[in-house]
């Protein structure tokens, strides 16, 4: 199990992470979401030892992470990085060796992975000759050539076409089913909702929601209402204190209730505005959830 505890890091005035804590369990696929600058990359770099946190620690199976444990991690940085002039298979095998594989072992693993990722016919080409999508597959291969104990991937899906997304999803699911914990950051919330077991939402360097995806969604359901009112003027809900509009579609509005707001008082206002045709607590999608969390914060700042 990978555990981040109270990770704090600031660059001068800018606070990138303010006490981030969460756990990544064996066989768990965790989506790490947050808007740009929320602190995702900073946290990942700290896990990989590329940055020193100002405070807090990272533990693997109850022991502080050191260079030996890190060598058993697989990492894909946000800014992809490969040697442009090195040949594909050699490159993947080289990273395998850096991660501690023997010579034959490394080239065998490189061959298997390139085949699995569908780039085996480019094995002897220089990386710079490959399309960006294929380079990304090679990048993923370098991150998992050594059959890592845990995978930490920064935006692995960005820039992939739908086929690439499917291949990557399948490959990652495979690892997860083998018991390897995988954490990846992403802006594609539908994707995270679809393939992740759990989610951590980061905002302004803080964890604002965390847990299994269905629980996180259910947790918020008593505070979220879907209401449809026939004949109401647009913006009828604006007068209710402590209520925030998450999304609006076809006369249906998704509301998030602030602390201490009674749903019955919302109903009363709705009835005053027109004929209420639908009134129910709603399970917000991850997108809605994200918007409500991030949006509310933006409102108070």
């Amino acid at each position: 199990m990978l555990e981040l505890r109270d990770i704090t890091k600031s660059y001068g005035e800018i606070v990138a992470a303010a006490g981030v804590s969460f756990r990544l369990h064996p066989g768990e696929m965790l989506g790490f979401v947050g808007s740009n600058g929320a602190g995702k990359t900073t946290c990942m770099r700290i896990v990989l030892g590329l940055l020193e946190p100002d405070r807090g620690e990272v533990e693997w199976n109850g022991r502080p992470v050191d260079s030996n444990t890190r060598r058993r991690f697989g990492y894909m940085p946000e800014e992809r990085g490969l040697y442009p002039k090195m040949r594909v298979a050699n490159q993947v095998a080289y990273f395998g060796r850096l991660h501690g594989l023997g010579k034959e072992e490394a080239s065998a693993a490189a061959g298997r992975l390139l085949e699995r990722l569908g780039v085996e016919e480019r094995a002897d080409d220089r990386v710079e000759a490959l399309s960006l999508g294929n380079q990304q597959r090679v990048q993923l291969a370098t991150a998992m050539v050594h059959d890592p104990d845990a995978m930490i991937l920064d935006e692995p899906f960005s820039g992939l076409d739908p086929v690439g997304v499917d291949v990557l999803t399948e490959v990652l699911r495979d690892r997860v089913e083998a018991g390897v914990p995988v954490v990846f950051s992403s802006h594609q919330l539908e994707l995270v909702e679809r393939i992740c077991d759990s989610v951590v939402i980061l905002h302004n360097g803080r964890v604002v929601a965390e847990g299994p995806v269905h629980e996180v969604r259910a947790e918020r359901s008593d505070r979220t209402l879907r209401v449809e009112v026939d004949g109401a003027l647009p913006g009828w809900e604006a007068s209710i204190p402590g209520v925030q509009v998450v999304s609006r579609s076809n006369g249906s509005v998704l509301l998030r209730l602030g602390d201490g707001v009674d749903d019955q008082s919302v109903l009363a206002v709705a009835r005053g505005a027109g004929r209420v045709t639908y009134f129910s607590s709603a399970r917000p999608s991850l997108v809605d959830l994200f918007r409500s969390v991030v949006g509310s914060d933006r409102g108070t700042e």
Binding site: R45, L48, G49, L50, L51, E52, S67, R70, R71, F73, Y75, M76, P77, E79, R80, G81, L82, Y83, P84, K85, M86, Y94, F95, R97, L98, H99, G100, T142, A143
Partner: protein, 394 residues
């Protein structure tokens, strides 16, 4: 598990040696050096001048023999050829002979007599006269020979200088040139290799498995091995060309000097590679590399010029002092060693100063590298890199 530093070094070696530009630059170096060594001889420079002497009449034979014998003392080679009296004019105008001796006491030339040849013939003539006089005085031939070949004069120098071997000047010149080329070329290769990793961001992936120190050490080692390999190849090829064709004779004394060049290369390369790596880590794009490496380039160039000054006057104060200044010593010292103008203690002391400076420099350069290598974007300032590396394990 194999040491990551070795893995990094091995990658540098295999990728570079396979690169077409390495193969081409090595071949060009070998060809150029061999050409420099051989072409002057092929064109006849440095060979003693050769003259053909026509011999007419029986009385000329003794004179011709004496001229042939005396010629080497004047740095020329004379070959005597019997000539019929009737052919004297045509042989001279056709250039078959350069001068003709007629009846032992007359010399005929086409236009004018070469001054050196004339002096040699004059000396031969004088010797013949003296020999004849001594014979008449009753000395036997052995006694005559003894009189005419006195013991060499005893020379006592007040301030004896170790003599430069013949050809040492040319060897020293090539040594300085090669050292400058390899140290600068491969030092710069270290800087640009560092920037390559930084600009492609591959460094972030690598540093998640190996430490910055291991990556830096492996890179410098790998590139150093490639540079050394190329240097050995170039020098060996040039030596082979020289020895096989036999055009140039290598003095015995030149061998230690030639091998010492390899040692000085190691010192010079390590010194500059550490600095070039630190400089490279400050920038994120190859285009910016020139800016940060210019100061280093200037220092290497100063070393090159000082080494040339040392070639001119290896025992000057300037050359002596420069032999103990680490950034320039690896180029100045080999020049002086090759010219034979240096005492053993100076060599040892200079190498020690270089080693000590490297020992001080590497941790400093490594710290700058560690502090700057992951900071992409604008150029990292020195003190920022220094401070950033203060924390962190790297």
């Amino acid at each position: 598990m194999i040491n990551p530093t070795i893995l990094v070094a091995r990658r540098e070696i295999t990728e570079r040696v396979r690169d077409r530009s390495f193969i081409i630059s090595t071949m060009v170096g070998v060809v150029l050096l061999a050409a420099f060594a051989l072409v002057p001889r092929l064109l006849g420079f440095g060979e003693p001048e050769e003259w053909v002497l026509g011999v007419v009449g029986e009385d000329s034979a003794a004179m011709a023999g004496a001229v042939e014998a005396a010629a080497p003392n004047f740095g020329i080679v004379v070959t005597a050829e019997p000539l019929e009296a009737a052919r004297v004019e045509s042989a001279l105008t056709d250039g078959d002979v350069d001068a003709v001796i007629v009846d032992g006491d007359q010399i005929v030339v086409d236009q004018e007599l070469d001054p050196t040849l004339q002096t040699a013939m004059q000396a031969a003539s004088a010797q013949l006269e003296v020999t004849g006089a001594l014979n008449e005085a009753g000395l036997n031939p052995d006694e005559v020979t003894e009189v005419l070949t006195p013991d060499p004069l005893d020379v006592r120098a007040l301030d004896p200088q170790p003599g430069a071997a013949e050809g040492a000047g040319a060897i020293a010149f090539f040594a300085v040139f090669l050292l400058y080329g390899q140290i600068f070329g491969y030092g710069f290769a270290v800087a640009s290799g560092v920037v390559e990793e930084k600009s492609t961001r591959v460094v972030e992936v690598i540093l998640s498995t190996v430490s910055a120190r291991q990556l830096l050490a492996g890179k410098v080692m790998g590139i150093g091995v490639v540079a050394m390999f190329q240097l050995l190849l170039t020098v060996s090829a040039a030596l082979a060309a020289v020895l096989l064709t036999g055009f140039v004779e290598l003095p015995e004394a030149a061998w230690p000097a030639i091998w010492s060049v390899l040692g000085w290369f190691l010192l010079g390369f390590t010194f500059y590679a550490a600095l070039f790596a630190a400089a490279g880590s400050l920038v994120s794009r190859q285009e910016e590399l020139q800016n940060v490496t210019t100061p280093l380039t200037m220092v290497v160039l100063v070393g090159f010029f000082l080494a040339f000054a040392a070639l001119n006057d290896p025992s000057s104060t300037l050359a002596r002092v420069a032999s103990f200044i680490p950034p320039v010593a690896p180029m100045v010292m080999p020049a002086r060693i090759t010219l034979g103008e240096v005492a053993p203690w100076e060599v040892v002391a200079s190498a020690a100063v270089c080693l000590a400076s490297i020992a001080v420099l590497i941790p400093l350069a490594a710290r700058l590298y560690r502090g700057a290598i992951l900071r992409t974007g604008t150029r990292v300032r020195l003190f920022e890199a220094w401070r950033a590396a203060g924390t962190g394990e790297g």
